[in-house]
Point group: C3
């Protein structure tokens, strides 16, 4: 139950971030709807396809479809409020990342895959929707460029597996890992924490 | 049988539309072949992967491969006739869309999925080949921009499910739904019918 | 065993080619890692998804993950040596293509698919990692433009099936087919062999 709620909240957060990017690109109503749908479901869809869960998650429960539709309608109606808040896009994105990382790890565990593979699945679930969104809008995916993104997912995933070795209740570890992803990404952006530079600086 | 013929006609129509786009991009012979193949099979492949049909449809029956090869050879031979007919590209595309929408809905019904999910599958089958074609050619997919496209698929899909509630024979509903997609899209482009503008006009 | 070694060598070769492209695009450490991973596993992943092998190959054996990580670390450490050697990128790419073509054909045979479909699967395994790499870096995939690529895969695949009809041991045919792909591509580039021009030259 907790799991379904988290999955749906993540879908709504990502759908809204999809609407904002699509409207910046001036796509028409269906373009906006499709980008929102793909942003919200893309990561989980790829995860299910790679694991071999069939059919993919959003086909079995219409609640995902209705959640995304609702989020798109709200986002279009209140776009003027949203679009002057550049931080809102970022916040929704970050919340979605945190929630989806743990959903992906959970599905990997259900399929009895090894922890490193589960962490990759969590990262895919969290990031691939945004990657498709950017590819469809013909941009180099944000994730590959400037921001701490995958790092936050991996950190959250590792934390979860470390907490799982303690006597802490699994539901708490789950929530704590989500918070770690979100807080780490927010702090990383606020304090400009970046990965070590792998390119030699020319002198 | 009717179903297989429709699927193959759709593949040929989409393969030709793929050849025309690829030749405009001056791709080499294999580039043209691959784009044609992907345009013709991409939508159905994604549909089968999402549903979990394995292996995907074109692997089980070599007729798809030979149909696409034949269509590519014909299109390359007669490209001079085709390319001065800009409307031809559009017409083949539209026929493919109509045929594939119903093929996708049919496959969704076979997998016992809910009608809204079937309509999404029909839309994916009809549109995703063109989306991949455009992504591979490094353009923002046509579907997200100016044309009535997904709207036509959805309208045809909804019509099919409405007709299915009447005593009309299923094969007729099938054909009627295909015609609705094709005619609606042709009329929409001819009379410049567009989706309601979701962007406020600046005064 | 031979098969696993070939698969891992191919993954390492493609991972290095991914690192070099990603570093040219100045992606950050994780961007580089993701592009290397996707270049190395993308073709095999698509192949497994299309056939319906579940989960996809790299989830079952962590050796792929560690091989790619190792190759990325080596490539980053020795990038200065590598990057002045433009031919190195090309050579690694070509070796990966040869190895992966046969891995893909093998998997198709295991799934009892027809020879032409197996050859397509070999070509997908060999080329799709590079296609995703180029799409993610926002370029028209190299494969669609100037180089003999798919042609080499198809030639190798056809050779394999022809050799399989002779009394030659299957392991030898396997190695010979890999060499045909590699040698043909190297010769094609060296002697500027290209596909026949399908565009009429304007006089």
């Amino acid at each position: 139950m907790l799991y379904l709620i988290i999955d749906i909240l993540g879908a709504a957060a990502f759908a809204i971030s999809g609407v904002l990017v699509a409207m910046e690109k001036k796509l028409d109503l269906f373009g906006v709807l499709i980008i929102a749908f793909v942003t919200a479901t893309g990561g989980g869809t790829l995860r299910d396809v790679l694991i071999g869960n069939k059919p993919v998650f959003w086909m079995l429960n219409p609640i995902y479809l209705f959640t995304i539709l609702g989020a798109v309608i709200l986002a279009i109606l209140f776009v003027n409020q949203l679009k002057y808040l550049r931080k809102t896009l970022f916040l929704f994105d970050t919340i979605g990342i945190g929630l989806f990382t743990m959903v992906g790890i959970e599905k990997g565990l259900e399929a009895e895959l090894a922890p490193p593979i589960c962490i990759i699945l969590g990262t895919i679930t969290a990031s691939f929707g945004g990657v498709i969104r950017d590819i469809l809008c013909n941009e180099i995916p944000v994730i590959f460029q400037k921001e701490i993104y995958a790092t936050a997912c991996i950190l959250g995933g590792v934390s979860y597996f470390l907490l799982a070795m303690t006597p802490i209740d699994s539901a708490y570890s789950y929530i704590v890992a989500i918070m770690i992803v979100i807080v780490f990404r927010l702090l990383a952006v606020k304090f400009h924490i970046a990965l070590p530079n792998i390119y030699k600086v020319k002198k």
